[in-house]
Symmetry: C2
Amino acid sequence: MVPMPKKPLPVVDECCSVLVEPIDEDTATELAKGFHALADPARLRLLSLIAAQPAGEVCACDLVEPLGKSQPTVSHHLKVLYEAGLVDRDKRGSWIWYRVVPDRLDALRAALAPALPVG
Amino acid sequence: MVPMPKKPLPVVDECCSVLVEPIDEDTATELAKGFHALADPARLRLLSLIAAQPAGEVCACDLVEPLGKSQPTVSHHLKVLYEAGLVDRDKRGSWIWYRVVPDRLDALRAALAPALPVG
DNA sequence: CCTAGATATCGGCGAACGTCGATACGTTGT
DNA sequence: ACAACGTATCGACGTTCGCCGATATCTAGG
C-alpha cells in the first residue's frame, strides 16, 4: 500500500461564493489552501498538462521533461496538487497516473462566482 | 498624489481555461499571481468583507476591526489585492474606499472552467 | 501651526516555500 | 539475486511570506 501523504479532498463545505456574504475564518482557511495550490506557475502547468491528455490521465514520468524541472520538484508539486484534492492518482505497476478532479476545481470556481448569477 | 505601489490590472490575456490546453510559462506565471493573491485567509476575508457591503464599497478604516489584524497588516493585504487587480480604490479626503473588481475575478474563474462547457 | 485621525512604509522576526542533489523505496525484468 | 527504472523522501539553500511595532505621510479641523 502506498503511504498516503495526508488526507486528500477536504472539499469546501460552503455552497456559495466569497462575494455573497462575509466568510468565516475556517472557510477562508480552507479556500486559501485550495488557491494556494494554484498559486504557482509550475503547478498550474502541471494541472494543464494533466488535463490536456486525451485519455484524461498521464503518467508522472511524462510530466518531468515538459515541465522542465527536476524529478523531485515535479514529485513535490504533484503531491501538493494531490493533497489539495485537485488531482487524483492511480498506481499501475511502477507508474503512477494522474488525472484532474473536476469537483474540487468547480468548488474553487464557485467561490469566485459573482453575487448575482445573471442579470 | 498617492504614490502608486506598482501597476494594477495586468489582466490575464488568455481567453480560456487552464484545462483546455497546456498553458505556456508566461500565462502560468500571470495566473499564479492572481491565485496567489487569493491564497491567504486574511485576503479572502477582506475580499468577502468588501464585496458584502451594500454600497459595494467600504472604507479601509472599517476593515481593520472585523479582520482582527493590525492596521499595517490590513494595509499590506489590501495592497496585495490592489496590485493583483482584484480590488480598486478611491481616495476621499483622509479615507480610502475599496471595491471589488469583478473582471479580474471572472478571468481567474474562467481559468478554472472545465474543458467542455456543458454536456 | 498644531493636533488628531487615516493610511502607508520600514525594519525585523519566525515560518513557509520552491528548488535541487543525494538517497531510499518499490516494481519489473533478467 | 541483481540491475534498471519510476517515484518519494531527505537535507540544505536562498527566497518569499505574514505579521507587528514604530514611524512617516497625508488630510481635516481648531
